[in-house]
Structure formats: structure tokens, C-alpha cells
Amino acid sequence: MKILVLIKQVPETTDVKIDPETNTLKREGVKSIINPFDMYAIEEAVRIKERSGGGQVIAVSMGPPQAMEALREAISMGCDEAVLLSDKKFAGSDTWATSYTLSQAIRKLGDYSVVLCGKQASDGDTAQVGPGVSTHLDIPQVTYIKKIEQINAESARVERMTEEGYEIIETALPAVMTVVKEINEPRLPSLKGKMRAKKAEIPVWTAEDLLCDEEKIGLDGSPTRVIKVFTPPPRQGGRVLAGEPEAVSKELADLLKDVVISS
């Protein structure tokens, strides 16, 4: 079974500053790590391989050349191989263009059973890339998985976390699965893994290698336009209406009308 894990390199801190000029994250001076949610995806991929007694786990990341470090760490935790998607043409990709680019890489890798991702990245927090990849590939997706009960080359039965509890979902494979932190406890790297990672040759694939439609990648291929990124002001205190229920409800209705009409 070939298992693909999509990982993203993110700044370590959750307290990221935003550049007011470009509306992008300021990364200078912040240590980079693997998106914490992706660590659970890596661990789960390695566990599936260990349980089934064979197979192959390939980590895939799209990012600047320094994302190679994240991929080496994935290998040190037990991934067999890794691929970096890196090209100046990918710069400025939104979640749509990113998931398109990743899906092109997945097609190129081919013959896979599962694509695992963290539920979301700790910097962007969109939770859109996993589902986006499944849509581009036109395969099923199951999000927020907290347990993989059973898996073989053709199908899987998983527990999907919801706000009220969990659903048991059976899906045909290949499928995209995004995982939550309840699914496992990621292992530390091993010494042999670290040595393998150091020596591993990680190919870098460009837009050309991936046969990307140039209109679908990078800033130009991204339908999202970021107009402004800002921290919303703290919520102001509300107003309390007091008096007889009838009078209060009429007053409230008038106020609401004003709000709806004026906006």
C-alpha cells in the first residue's frame, strides 16, 4: 500500500506578525517546524505501514527550498521517501492553487491508496487544502478522523470526529483523509531515521515536472484575493434592554430593522 502524507512547514509560534504592506506572514527570525497537525498524519501513515507489515510512505510538501528540512524530519520519523514541490511560479498560491499543485504531484506519484493530511495548518488555519486535493483528484474525502479502525488496499473504516461525538464512515480507497490530534501520539525521530534522513535524496519537482496548467498555479492561479489582514478589534460591550416584555421586544425589532437596513 502506498501512503502519501502532505505536510507543510510553518512558523513555530502561533503569535505570528503580519506584514501590513504585503498582508503576508512575517517569517523572519521565527523557527520553522512541521505543522503540528501534520505530525499526527505522519505518525498515522507510519503506523498503517507498520500494521500492514509493508508498503511505502511518501511525504510531500510544497514550499520554498527550506521546506526540505521538514521533509527530512518526516523521513527521520519513518517516512520512506519525500518529494518537495518548489518553484518560483508556485509563490502566492492560495488554498485552491496549492491543492491543485499537490494533486498534480499525487497524480505523478500514482498508484496510491491513501492521502493523509493534518486537519489544518497552524498558520493559515483554513482546513481547505485536504478537501481541495480530494476534489481536484475526484476521490472521496473524510475529514477530522480520530481513529482508523480498519484499512486495506480497497477500503477503510474510520471514526470521524464531530462536535457532538463521532461518526463511523466506511470509504472506498483511494481517499483523502485529514486527521485530528486525538488520533495518536507522534513518535520522536529515531537515530537510524535521522541518519537516513540526512542521506536521503529528496527530488524537487517544478511546475514543469508536474505538467501544471500555468493558469492554475501561483498568485495568478489563485482566485482568492487578500484585501486586508487584520486583528479584529475586541468585541464592545452590548446593550441591555429593560422594561415590559412587549415594549422591549418592539424596541429590539426596531433596532434590528435599523441594523439590517443600514448594512
Binding site: R187, L188, P189, S190, L191, K192, G193, K194, M195, K198
Partner: protein, 385 residues
């Protein structure tokens, strides 16, 4: 300071540091309190390939030596000097095998130690034979293709938890120290039992028990080297293992310094951080300098041993003695710098002081180390004439 670690050594150091910070440090106080053996951490060390760093590659290890064992022990002991001992004392138990085991013995036991499937333990000390190791009473009597061992070993680290014991016993009492022999004894051998876990001042999560032999029949093939080599095997083992004790002391001391620097920077009295007072600064400066000197001595000794140099007893004793004395001083000063907080169990430094103490005592008291060093100096001087 840059100690010119190889890429591999740097990886060992970084990984052990990560384990110490993420896995050991958060649980150290609880293990100190409950005095339970940290099997969950031993499992992590096994899965991370740390257990085999000092074992040759042909037996499933990483092919390192005393130096690799020291850098790993230092980092793990930064997290907890008691928990790290499960690993370090396995090294002590494995050295007799590494140094004197025959091919069959090595092939049988080392792969399990390297993979972390089994811990090892070294049993020499008895109630009436501590520094005077030559006066042990435990006996091993040949009986056909077996030896029958009788006697009681005391304060044995990893006892009851380890699967593999290297035991020093007298095969010929009339010969004194030259009548001692070393044996490998497996945990499930009939006639082998353990005393209660000792209630210790420090390194409390490590297991210390009596190892009791009652007509314990050990196959003759488990004899290490030959009869009469027991005392030499023990001494050579200590030559190799003492840098590990030194590294344990160093890790504990480094943690104490780190805690003290951080605390004195945060603690404000008379309107300023107490680290701005010269009296405090002088203490920190001495602690840091002594610690670095200890590290340099340990690393040099370990590298010298790994190079295959002969007559390493002196440097081995020097680094153990010096680093453990520094650790006792640095941890005591750290408690002083934290003042009343330092004395409280809510803060980590009182534990560091308790943990440091044993490093001046075991694997040869520091008084014995000084005797070893002095007699080496005198011998060297006579040799020159």
C-alpha cells in the same frame, strides 16, 4: 564550546536532548516522588535507537563507544539523573561483555541490549565489600558444566528490572582478588531473587535492590574470560564506565546551572533582577566555568578510552571524581541561589542536589578515585626512572 562532534555524535546529542526536554523533564518530579522505574521512557529510548549507540554494529548497535555513551547520558541526565540511570547502568552491565565476552556470548546478549529489549546490570558490591571489592563473599563453585552461585549482592542498580546480570563471584577464595570470576546470569535463572527496592535520597526512580543467589546454577559457558579474571574485568569495566557516571553528574549540574541562571534573571529584589548583583554573578561564573572544565575533562577521557589507549584508569577516575564534585557544588549553589524556593519541592533544584550526591559515591567513592589517581601518578613517575 565546540567539542568537534561528528555529524553522528551531534545527532545523538540533539535527539537525547529532545527526549530529555519533551519526555523526561515533564515526568521527572513524579517519578522522583513515586520512585517507580520509568519503563515508558526506556521504551522511548529503545524506539529511538539510543540503547545501542555504544554497541558494535555487528550486534545491532550504532558502533559508538564511551564518548557516545557519555554525550547521551549527559543529555538524558539533564532531564532526570535517576531515569537516565536505567540506560547508563545498562552500559555498566554491558561493558564486561563488550570487553571480555566471547563471540557466542556477545551474539547471544548484545543484540537484545542494543535494541533496548533487555536492560543489563552489574553486580559487584556486597554488604561487607564496597571500596574493598576484593573481599567479596559470593561464591561460584564448579559442578560439572555448571557453576553454583551463592551469596548476596547489595545496592545493585537496575536489579529486578534488568534481564542480564554480570556478576563477580569467588571461584577460589584462597587466592583473594585473583580468585574472583565474572559470570553472565539471566534473570529467570532458578535460585536468583531480588530484595526490596531501596528507598533512596536521590536518583529515586532508578531501581536499587539486593541480588540474592541461592544455589543458583549458571551454565559454565556463561563464565566471562576465564576463572580468576573477575577482579580485572571489574576494574576494566569501571575504567570504561566512569566517564558515564561523570556525564550523569555533568547533565545534572548543567540543569542546575540553567535553572539558576533563569531564576536569578527573573527574581527581583531591591528593585532589580538578582542576577545584576555581583555576588550572584560570581557564583554563576564559577558554576559555569567548573562545569565546562568538567565537560572538557570527561570528553577528553572518553575519547582517549575509545582510541584504545592503555592505562586509562587515571583519566577515567579523574573525570568521574572531578565532575561529581563539581556537580555537588553546582547543585548546592543552585539551591542557594534559589533561596527558599530552591529548598522547596515545587522547584527542580533540590532534586538535582539529592541526585548529584550519589555520583560522588558509586562506581568507586571519590576517595577511591583519588587513590587510583595517586597510585597511577606514582607508578608513572617510577616508570620514568
Amino acid at each position: 564550546m565546540d567539542y568537534l562532534l561528528t555529524e553522528e555524535q551531534q545527532m545523538i546529542k540533539d535527539l537525547c536532548r529532545q527526549i530529555a526536554e519533551e519526555k523526561i523533564k515533564p515526568v521527572a518530579a513524579e517519578y522522583d516522588e513515586t520512585a517507580e522505574f520509568a519503563w515508558d521512557i526506556m521504551k522511548i529510548l529503545a524506539e529511538s535507537d539510543i540503547c545501542g549507540i555504544y554497541i558494535p554494529e555487528e550486534y545491532g548497535g550504532m558502533g559508538g563507544g564511551v564518548f557516545e555513551l557519555a554525550i547521551a547520558t549527559e543529555q538524558l541526565s539533564w532531564g532526570c539523573g535517576g531515569i537516565s540511570l536505567g540506560f547508563a547502568a545498562t552500559g555498566l552491565g554491558a561493558f564486561p561483555l563488550l570487553l571480555y565476552g566471547n563471540e557466542g556470548q556477545k551474539a547471544e546478549y548484545l543484540p537484545d541490549i542494543a535494541a533496548g529489549r533487555k536492560l543489563a546490570s552489574f553486580a559487584l558490591t556486597e554488604a561487607e565489600a564496597g571500596s574493598d571489592a576484593g573481599s567479596i563473599k559470593t561464591s561460584a563453585k564448579k559442578d560439572g558444566d555448571h557453576y553454583i552461585i551463592n551469596g548476596t549482592k547489595q545496592w545493585i542498580t537496575n536489579a529486578g528490572e534488568a534481564e542480564i546480570y554480570t556478576v563477580i563471584a569467588m571461584t577460589n577464595k584462597s587466592k583473594g582478588a585473583r580468585g574472583a570470576s565474572a559470570f553472565i546470569v539471566e534473570k529467570d535463572t532458578p535460585g536468583l531473587s531480588f530484595g526490596k527496592k531501596e528507598n533512596k535520597m536521590g536518583i529515586r526512580s532508578s531501581a536499587t535492590r539486593e541480588v540474592i543467589f541461592t544455589d543458583c546454577r549458571v551454565p559454565a559457558k556463561n563464565l566471562l574470560g576465564r576463572e580468576g579474571l573477575g577482579f580485572i574485568i571489574a576494574m576494566k569495566t569501571f575504567d570504561n564506565s566512569r566517564p558515564g557516571v561523570a556525564a550523569q553528574a555533568l547533565g545534572i549540574a548543567q540543569r542546575a546551572l540553567d535553572e539558576a541562571v533563569q531564576y536569578t534573571h527573573e527574581r527581583r529584589q531591591f528593585g532589580q533582577a538578582i542576577s545584576s548583583f555581583q555576588g550572584v554573578q560570581f557564583m554563576l561564573a564559577d558554576m559555569g566555568t567548573q562545569l565546562e572544565a568538567a565537560r572538557a575533562l570527561i570528553y577528553s577521557a572518553a575519547r582517549m578510552i575509545d582510541s584504545g589507549a592503555r592505562n586509562v584508569a587515571k583519566v577515567s577516575a579523574m573525570c568521574k571524581m572531578y565532575a561529581s564534585d563539581v556537580a555537588m557544588k553546582v547543585t548546592t549553589d543552585a539551591v542557594q541561589l534559589l533561596g527558599g524556593y530552591g529548598y522547596m519541592k515545587e522547584y527542580p533544584v533540590e532534586k538535582l542536589m539529592r541526585d548529584a550526591k550519589i555520583t560522588q559515591i558509586y562506581e568507586g567513592t571519590n576517595q577511591i578515585q583519588r587513590s587510583v589517581i595517586a597510585s597511577s601518578l606514582i607508578k608513572e613517575s617510577l616508570g620514568k626512572k
